[in-house]
């Protein structure tokens, strides 16, 4: 059946002002978040929380579902590293049905976007879930953190206080312009479309306060339940966010150009994977990769034993494990339209392949050809599942928009 999807625009700066409520944060960001959550749990605004906790006696962070407020003393709302992608964690929690307890979930913006994509893929049930996203300065590379946790945590803290060095961040974080509330440019977001229910902002506030932005009905319930009123926009926050967005967009443009030249063409592209051992960590870490058994682990691509030698003879040699590049290209074709550039894949790669950057670049380019921005609008259908008649004019019989060429004409120019 035909459906004319609404194309999302790429420009997602918050041109429409968002109303926020203020919450004091003089004692520190984490403390303020803990206070908010404790109050909310005590007053039963919600019954449980899922968020990262620091595992005692270690430098590790673990997603935890809790209703015991005492556990919040270990809370680490925005860890310096991304461990398990939060969208994936939320999917583990709700893929078999809605949670019985009303639960608030604290996610980084890219984790929120991944969660929205998973919601569209029916791997997350958002009933009884209140999604809370937080302004995010980025995350430091997992391997850097593991070798020197104290130093890396300090560098991250500097970035939280807005006087840190972005070189400490992961490459995909440095080019991320969706670190705050995403919204389409014109007309505002339709009701029910917002990715998060509440957004917590702290940029531009010099550590004095948190700003709580209710974005949906559930969000309003939460903010009001805390006894707060979201009545005014906050200029200092809007300016800080706009400045950072502009800077990051410049980085993204430079990256797109530079990285593209490094991977353009079959040889440069495949050379990127010279050291790949086909361990599939990238696929396992990726929140969008939800298949019970990956197609590239299944019988579908298993080569019958008797054909190994035959295949080897074709080129004089056969590399093991088989079909490394096919795995990456195939995974790309399956998920890149929903890629939220979170970089979990790159953190997980034991061969230090810049797979997050590669997929982020391809994602950016393919998503724009579908006029699709993953994860920012719950109501925007997935491009491969939505039929639009006015699409890909350059390869289709002249379509309604009149800009297309007949296939015979296309071939003439080829």
């Amino acid at each position: 059946m035909k459906e004319k999807g609404k194309p999302a625009t790429q420009d997602i700066s918050p041109k429409n002002s968002f109303m926020s409520a203020s919450y004091p944060a003089g004692d520190g960001f984490a403390k303020a978040i803990r206070a908010v959550l404790t109050k909310a749990l005590d007053d039963q605004v919600f019954e449980a929380v899922m968020m990262p906790l620091k595992v005692p006696k270690t430098e590790a962070f673990a997603w935890t579902l809790l209703d015991d407020t005492k556990l919040l003393e270990h809370a680490s709302p925005l860890p310096p590293v991304m461990t398990i992608q939060g969208g994936k964690a939320l999917s583990e929690l709700t893929k078999h049905g809605e949670l019985i307890e009303r639960t608030a979930v604290l996610l980084r913006p890219c984790e929120t976007r991944a969660a929205v994509e998973l919601f569209k893929l029916k791997q997350i049930n958002l009933e009884n879930i209140t999604l809370i996203s937080i302004d995010c300065p980025g995350a430091v590379p997992l391997s850097d953190y593991l070798s020197d946790p104290e130093n890396q945590a300090r560098k991250f803290q500097d970035l939280m206080e807005e006087n840190g060095d972005e070189d400490a961040l992961r490459p995909v974080c440095r080019i991320c312009d969706k670190f705050s509330i995403p919204a389409p440019a014109e007309g505002g977001m339709e009701e029910g479309g917002h990715a998060a229910d509440v957004h917590i902002g702290f940029l531009g506030q010099k550590g004095k306060r948190l700003l709580l932005f209710p974005l949906t009905e559930k969000g309003r319930t939460l903010v009001e339940g805390l006894g707060l009123k979201a009545e005014s926009p906050e200029n200092s926050w809007e300016t800080a966010v706009q400045t950072m967005t502009d800077a990051r967009r410049k980085n993204r443009q430079a990256f797109n150009k530079d990285f593209l030249s490094r991977i353009s063409g079959p040889d440069p592209f495949s050379e990127m994977f010279d050291a790949c051992i086909n361990c599939h960590n990238c696929m396992r870490a990726c929140p969008i990769c939800y298949c019970q058994q990956c197609y590239y682990d299944s019988e579908a691509i298993r080569l019958p034993s008797e054909n190994y030698l035959e295949r080897a003879k074709k080129r004089g040699g056969l590399r093991f494990p088989l079909d490394t590049l096919l795995f990456h290209l195939g995974r790309m074709s399956h998920m890149v339209l929903s890629c939220v550039s979170c970089g979990a894949c790159e953190d997980a790669c034991p061969a230090s392949i810049p797979v997050g950057q590669i997929f982020s670049l391809v994602g950016d380019q393919t998503q724009s050809s579908f006029e699709y921005v993953p994860g920012i609008n719950r109501l925007q259908p997935l491009p491969l599942q939505a039929f639009r008649e006015d699409e890909f004019c350059e390869v289709e019989i002249p379509c309604e928009c009149g800009e297309g060429q007949a296939p015979s004409e296309v071939n003439k120019n080829a």
Binding site: A48, M50, V55, K57, T58, E59, A60, A62, W63, T64, L65, L66, D67, D68, K70, L71, T83, I84, A89, E92, L93, T94, K95, H96, G97, E98, I100, E101, L142, S143, D274, A275, I277, N278, C279, H280, N281, R284, Q292, Q293, D297, R302, S305, E306, Y308, L309, A312, K313, R315, G316, G317, L318, R319, F320, P321, L322, A348, P350, A351, S352
Partner: protein, 369 residues
């Protein structure tokens, strides 16, 4: 004393010559070995059929990008290789292949298995952090002197089964003199001797078990004890496991890369272990909080139960772990304990039956009559 094919070339070059001759004379249809994939030190196992490509082969390169036992298993899964092949694999990779054959996951026929008296490999991370290219000359020197260099995979430093079991040919590396001038291929089977007929070099005799080998074995065993020391049941125990596996991302890279983990869909990835909403409610009720995803440690202990008896201590799991958990250390410690318990060494003998599938009347008599 076994017969030895001696080639007056550096050990890797001599081996390459031998393999090339096998290909050119069509004694084998293909050679399975490591091959350089770029100029920055990366390498991958390759089944080479064109003798010209043997120029890029680096059979003794001290890197293990995958456990070759897994590769051999996937090649011979349905049936034995239809043509003779030669494969150069390390002792632990051979042992893994043997363990897989016992589980109907491979066939040995038609394979000429060439292994080495193994000086170990570098961890995977040494490729990206430059250690491998830096320390490569040192590696060969330590190999010759049968020493244990600091940059080896921890499991290699602690490995006592560095002489292969049941290989057709053993390439003398560890403790062998003048590796840059002499290549000694120890011919252990009649098949090996047949293959060596007419090969470049001359037949002599030699001894793998040099005094240096015996000395390094003792050192390796000491390293092993040192490696396992922190992980005692009394002092380390469950809380120790919880702490060690705290950073685990549940990526299951360890099981994906493990040669012994051959299941097409791991039980721990299947729906069997997925939680229903009510289960979360119950846990919240009982404990007030729980880790998401659940079963982080359960996966590891469960995997241990499934495969530790065949653990060959190759160390791929630690290498692939994104959060540097010493998986291999813990698993091979348990593997060792099981080996002692069942008097079984994984991959030692293809005819030896798997302990968990073998009933012995006089076993564990102290537990139940």
């Amino acid at each position: 004393m076994p017969s030895v094919l001696n080639i007056k070339k550096g050990v890797e070059e001599g081996l390459r010559l031998f393999l090339e001759s096998l290909l050119r004379e069509k004694k084998v249809a293909g050679v399975f070995t490591l091959r350089k994939t770029n100029d920055e030190g990366a390498a991958a196992y390759t089944l080479i059929t064109d003798p010209e490509h043997m120029q890029q082969a680096v059979p003794l390169y001290p890197l293990m990008p995958m456990n070759a036992g897994k590769a051999l298993s996937s090649h011979t899964l349905g049936s034995a290789s239809e043509a003779p092949l030669a494969a150069i694999v390390r002792p632990c990779e051979m042992r893994a292949f043997t363990e897989l054959i016992k589980r109907e996951q491979g066939h040995r026929d038609n394979l000429l298995l060439i292994s080495v008296s193994c000086a170990g490999v570098f961890p995977l991370s040494s490729l990206s952090n430059g250690t491998l290219s830096q320390e490569l000359p040192d590696y060969w020197e330590s190999a010759q002197n049968a020493e244990i260099p600091a940059f080896l995979r921890p499991t290699c430093a602690a490995c006592e089964h560095f002489l292969p079991f049941q290989a057709d040919i053993t390439v003398g590396v560890l403790g062998q003199k003048e590796l840059n001038k002499e290549c000694n291929l120890f011919l252990n089977t009649t098949k090996a001797e047949e293959m060596a007929e007419g090969a470049p070099g001359s037949i002599t005799s030699g001894e793998l078990e040099t005094p240096e080998i015996q000395a390094v074995r003792k050192e390796r065993m000491a390293e092993r004890r040192k490696l396992f020391e922190p992980f005692t049941a009394q002092d380390y125990g469950l809380s120790g496991l919880v702490q060690t596996f705290a950073p685990c991302l549940s990526c299951h890279g360890c099981s994906t890369i493990c040669p012994i983990c051959y299941c097409t869909l791991c039980d721990f990835d299947s729906k069997t272990h997925e939680y229903q909403p009510t289960s979360y409610s119950i846990e919240l009720d009982q404990k007030g909080g729980m880790r998401i995803p659940p079963g982080t440690l359960f996966f590891h202990t469960g995997r241990m139960v499934h495969m530790a008896v065949s653990c060959v201590n190759c160390g791929m799991c630690s290498d692939v772990c994104p959060v540097n958990i010493p998986v291999a250390t813990i698993f091979s410690k348990v593997g060792d304990a099981l080996a002692e318990e069942f008097e079984y060494v994984a991959g030692r003998d293809a005819e030896e039956e798997l302990p968990l599938g073998t009933y012995k009347a006089d076993e564990y008599s102290d537990i139940g009559e």
